[in-house]
């Protein structure tokens, strides 16, 4: 199946080239929002944030604050209500209720951190001084922290315009589901509660708006993944001619979904620049970021998997509730997580029968949004965890049950239970390669006697995962997400000097577009990547597009770049053919020249000169001047990438601290443009997963106060928590996408959650520990061990004694486990 796409000497695509974008970043010459030299007279905005999770705003007194020296203006929600339209994600989908969000809360606040007023002052220090003096009088209302509170019959309704607090619900059931599930030999089920996460890009959000009264033009620099959508939103919500708006995403310091929404601050700062006729800047600080940037992945997955005795998977049942917080994000809306959660659950396995009910529920917590992997990491956590449990209960090794059920060549192309098409994949190959590289059989043998070695419990965990990538217009139309176009575009242009420039409609936040897309252009035009410049993230140039998220960069922007480049290459051939008096089809582009069979050739620079009428030789009849093409791309089938992850962990039985000992991943993202960049994406995804399994968690107290608003309390993994990694590449090109590319941005995190959780569960097999909650902080691990039926002694035992007894109990349980654990 993995057709041999052998690479040619001189190919640019597929090379591990260091990135073109690195140099300025390494010299400290990056251009992140707050690095941009702001014009003289720039004013600084600071927001007054709600201290209550749910309350009525009785009065806002700015009298003291406005008197402060250096304060220019203060606006409250009431003053702006009529002047900036509310943000509304009116998704067109049955079971969906749209909700309005005012850019500043007017009468009611719905989460701690919601902005109730904005202070504009000469500098940030003064603005913060003034913000402290704004007095807000609240009348408290009942907070709704979790979905159970929010769906109770007597729960207060959070939004006047809806019925109840369920903003979206959908369900699905394959025709034979009930009968198959009823007749299954074995069913494993559990309720998985995933915890809320902060995206925590190292650069928090921010924007700078510069207004020109002369022509009512606005340029907004904003740290975003979706500059075109931001521009359209400003135009719609501020009634501003879109042709007078330019949105620029400069260097963006990470995004991961957190900058994939249009935020009130972007609208406000734009509004204020025009209102005050002055440049206005807002930089989100870290506390604000942890309180207001869209948060992710607070779901409950009640999942059941049905099997035959022999371990054959028959089907899955899922009931999913998503806590989407106080407001849906825009443009993706309230259904993106709940819908995705249901769609992503069938992974890399033959799963003929499937039924789900899914709901998106609004609560008085920070709005949620897409975060790297969206619901897929938790969906995989649920299915992969239950796979392991089923294996143990059916006397199979975790590797064995996966071998039995993972899709193989003969299954492909495969249409899963919810209708998603997998054209190609290397599910079984990746699994086997990862098992071999991790030396799985040997590890099991070593472990079989005793999981306790050198005073630590050792475990190994497998995950076989699917990544839905490169979703185009069709997927967004199906889901009724009307403000997300789904296509992207590129304009490729060869200048008179024979060098190429490409304007691409996406923007890059570290994924290396400026290098990867240059490789595509260079490959098509037969020039070196040093002769190609890629420009992104500026709505002032090039075609309209959707943006960079959901692993759509290489597939869709890459596809658009490829198509535009191909058309430019064709034109080069036509012109050269005319001049060299040969057939265009006989011409090859490489090393900056156009070669005909034999000796005849001319340089692309000469062709460019001709095309720009800077050469005695004329263009062929009917050929237009210039050497450029614009094209768009929208893949007909969203390509699926796949991977197998294997983690090995050790646990300190006394403290419960988990250490990742080794990590292997074999993955397949189709045709690889730049292996260096692909591996970087995988490493980063895995560590974001690792971090969320082991330590990250946003928490709210019973009143909805966020209690993880600093990086002292919101725990990101550091270099000493992370292992080195082995990454193995499979390349089954996608026949459904231009260039055969598949996406790779999210696979790492999708696999890391289940692989690490399963490894920890494996280390804790002697305790029958069932993992259905994250993060696995030391106190959680200790609880898992102590609640274990069989572990003698409680906390009174000394560690020494406990270790001895632990040793015994491990041995005992191992024997027990042995009896139905066949080692692969």
């Amino acid at each position: 199946m993995a057709a041999d796409h052998s690479r040619n000497e001189g190919d640019m695509i597929g090379r591990a080239l260091p990135r073109k974008e690195d140099d300025p970043l390494l010299r400290g010459l990056g251009s992140f929002i707050d690095d941009i030299q702001e014009p003289a007279g720039t004013l600084h905005a600071v927001f007054v944030m709600s201290t209550h999770a749910h309350a009525r705003i009785v009065e806002i007194d700015v009298s003291e604050a406005i008197r402060l020296e250096g304060v220019v203006a203060i606006y409250t929600g009431k003053e702006l209500a009529g002047r900036i339209k509310p943000i509304t994600s009116d998704i067109v989908q049955p079971g969906y209720q749209p909700v309005k969000r005012q850019v500043l809360a007017t009468d009611r606040v719905r989460f701690v951190g919601e902005a109730v007023a904005v202070v504009i002052a000469e500098n940030r220090y003064l603005a913060e001084d003034a913000a402290e003096l704004v007095r807000v009088d609240y009348e408290e209302l009942l907070p709704l922290i979790d979905v159970d509170q929010a769906v109770q019959a007597d729960a207060p309704k959070l939004h006047d315009e809806t019925t109840g607090n369920v903003l979206f619900q959908a369900s699905f059931r394959t025709p034979r589901f009930d009968e198959v599930f009823a007749s299954a030999d074995h069913v494993v089920r559990d309720s998985f509660q995933s915890h809320r996460l902060a995206v925590t890009a190292m650069e928090p959000r921010g924007c700078l708006a510069v207004y020109q009264r002369r022509n009512d033009n606005l340029t907004l620099w904003t740290s975003t993944q979706i500059p075109h959508i931001v521009r359209t939103a400003i135009s719609n919500l501020l009634d501003w001619d879109e042709t007078r708006l330019r949105v620029i995403a400069p260097d963006v310091g990470g995004a991961f979904g957190g900058k994939c929404s249009v935020y009130p601050e972007e609208l406000l700062v734009s509004f204020l620049a025009r209102e005050l006729n002055a440049p206005v800047k807002w930089i989100c600080d870290r506390r604000e970021d942890l309180m207001t940037t869209t948060q992710g992945r607070e779901y409950r997955f009640d999942v059941a998997l049905a099997f035959r005795k022999d371990g054959t998977l028959l089907g899955a049942l899922a009931k999913i509730d998503c806590n989407i917080g106080a407001y849906p994000s825009f443009p993706l809306g309230a259904s993106v997580e709940a819908g995705g959660a249901a769609i992503y659950l069938p992974g890399t396995y033959r799963m003929p029968e499937y039924a789900y009910e899914t709901r998106a529920i609004t609560t008085t917590t920070c709005p949620s949004g897409v975060y790297r992997g969206v619901a897929a990491p938790v969906a995989s956590l649920a299915t992969e965890t239950l796979m392991d449990r089923a294996a143990r209960e059916l006397g199979l090794d975790p590797a064995e049950i996966r071998r039995k059920n993972v899709l193989v060549a003969s299954d492909l192309p495969y249409t899963n239970a919810v209708g998603a098409r997998y054209l190609t994949g290397s599910f079984d190959t990746c699994l086997e390669r990862a098992l071999a590289a991790a030396n799985y059989a040997e590890v099991r043998r070593k472990q079989s006697g005793d999981r306790l070695r050198d005073g630590k419990l050792h475990g190994i965990g497998i995950a076989s995962v699917l990544e839905h990538t490169g979703q185009g217009t069709l997927r967004y139309r199906q889901r009724g997400i009307v403000y997300v176009p789904g296509f992207d575009g590129a304009q490729v242009k060869v200048e008179p000097n024979g060098r190429a420039i490409a304007w691409v409609s996406q923007c890059t936040q570290g994924q290396g577009h400026l290098t990867a897309f240059a490789q595509i252009v260079a490959q098509e035009l037969g020039i070196s990547i040093d002769e190609v410049t890629v420009i992104e993230g500026d709505t002032g140039f090039g075609p309209y597009g959707t943006g960079t998220f959901a692993s759509r960069g290489a597939v869709i922007a890459g596809g658009a770049t490829l198509r535009a480049s191909t058309r430019v290459a064709e034109k080069i051939r036509r012109i050269a053919a005319h001049i060299l008096k040969v057939n265009a089809s006989d011409l090859k582009l490489s090393n900056g020249r156009v070669y005909a069979s034999g000796e005849t050739s001319m340089s692309i620079r000469e062709v460019a000169a001709v095309a720009h009428s800077m050469d005695a030789r004329a263009l062929p009849d009917g050929e237009s001047f210039g050497l450029e093409a614009t094209d768009y791309y929208d893949p007909q089938v969203a390509p699926t990438s796949n991977a197998a992850h294997i983690a090995q962990v050790s646990i300190d039985p006394a403290t419960g601290l988990v250490t990742i000992e080794s990590y292997v991943v074999a993955h397949d993202c189709g045709r690889v443009i730049n292996p260096l960049i692909v591996e970087g994406q995988i490493h980063g995804g895995i560590v974001q997963g690792l971090s969320s399994v082991l330590s990250e968690a946003l928490r709210y107290d019973q009143n909805g106060q966020p209690i993880t608003v600093s990086l002292m309390d919101y725990l990101l993994s550091t270099s000493v928590d992370c292992p080195d990694m082995t990454v193995l590449h499979e390349e089954t090109w996608s026949p459904g996408t231009a260039g055969g590319f598949k996406g790779v941005g999210e696979g790492g995190v999708i696999g890391a959650l289940p692989a690490i959780a399963n490894a920890v569960a494996d280390a804790l097999v002697p305790f029958d520990a069932k993992i259905n909650r994250l993060p696995l902080l030391p106190h959680v691990i200790v609880e898992l061990m102590r609640s274990s039926s069989g572990l003698p002694g409680g906390h009174e035992s000394t560690a020494l004694g406990e270790r001895n007894r632990l040793h015994d109990s491990v041995a005992v349980r191992e024997e027990h486990a042995q009896s139905h654990e066949c080692i692969s």
Partner: protein
């Protein structure tokens, strides 16, 4: 996250600093390394009228062996615990604890005195100071006075310095060859703040324990002696039973506090293991830092 306004003073001598401190009657704050203070200023949960910067005070950075005492000026940086041969020779426990005190950039700037005066419940140095029986030398308008480490820590962020006093220097007894030390801790991430930290000092004669100091931080507002464990060791041979016994007794009469992130039950659970580890480490003459 920008601090509120404050007046700034940069005195050249401790005497000057104390004088300014007195003038502000408790509304001024001393600035040492700033690694704990500046964050709370940036968050604006603390807005002193003035900061008195000790970084230019002469003599506060001295490291000196004075007979049986190792004297550290209040401004000796935490990094010195690693780099100073004098400290390594006189107080190996300080050196062994250094890697726990946060990353290099923090230790380069953060001071030993500042960490002690900040009296943070999750900080390691207070445990070390108490275990070693250090003496805090306070300087005020009426001159200097000694405060035993045991009496210095009153609770969260609270020490026994008067409003017009500063911590001038810290005196650690120079350790002897018959002494053994260890520091171990339980953390949420590798090398994180101490959920529970244990500092240990044993004095041995013919393999009998003559003296034992076992001090825990992280379980409550201030460093606490594990008296029952200490008593159980004194006068006895250090064998496996003694270790098991001392570690079992560590939770005897010990109070454990919860916080919204970590339950008291966890702290109670890990303390015996940490005490055992510290003892085993000390017995194997481990000053090898355990990860």
């Amino acid at each position: 996250m920008k601090p509120s306004r404050f007046e700034y003073f940069s005195p050249a001598t401790a005497a000057e600093a104390v004088e300014i401190l007195a003038n502000f009657e408790g509304t001024a704050r001393l600035l040492a390394g700033g690694q704990s203070l500046v964050p709370i200023l940036n968050f604006r949960v603390f807005a002193p009228a003035a900061l008195i910067d000790l970084n230019r005070c002469r003599g506060l950075d001295e490291i000196r062996k004075d007979g049986t005492l190792l004297v550290l000026g209040a401004m000796v940086r935490q990094s010195a615990a690693e780099t100073s041969e004098t400290i390594r020779a006189c107080c190996p426990l300080l050196t062994a604890t250094a890697p726990f005190l946060g990353p290099n950039a923090v230790r380069n700037r953060g001071t030993v005195g500042g960490s002690l005066a900040h009296a943070d419940r999750v900080a390691e140095l207070p445990a070390v100071a108490v275990a070693l029986g250090a003496t805090m030398v306070a300087e005020g308008p009426k001159g200097r006075r000694d405060i035993a480490a045991d009496d210095f820590f009153l609770g969260d962020l609270t020490n026994s310095l008067a409003v017009d006093e500063m911590l001038r220097e810290v005196r650690f007894p120079v350790s002897s060859p018959v002494q053994r030390f260890a520091f171990v801790e339980a953390t949420n991430r590798h090398h994180d703040l101490a959920l529970v930290g244990v500092a240990l000092k044993l004095t041995l004669r013919e393999n009998r324990c003559e003296q034992a100091a076992i001090v825990v931080v992280g379980i409550g507002p201030k460093p606490t002696h594990l008296s029952a464990s200490e008593r159980s060791l004194v006068g006895n041979r250090l064998d496996a039973d003694a270790v098991r016994n001392a570690s079992a007794l560590s939770i005897e009469g010990t109070e454990f506090e919860s916080d919204p992130h970590t339950p008291a039950s966890y702290r109670r659970h890990v303390l015996p293991a940490l005490v055992e580890r510290a003892l085993l480490q000390a017995m194997s003459q481990g000053l090898s830092i355990q990860r």
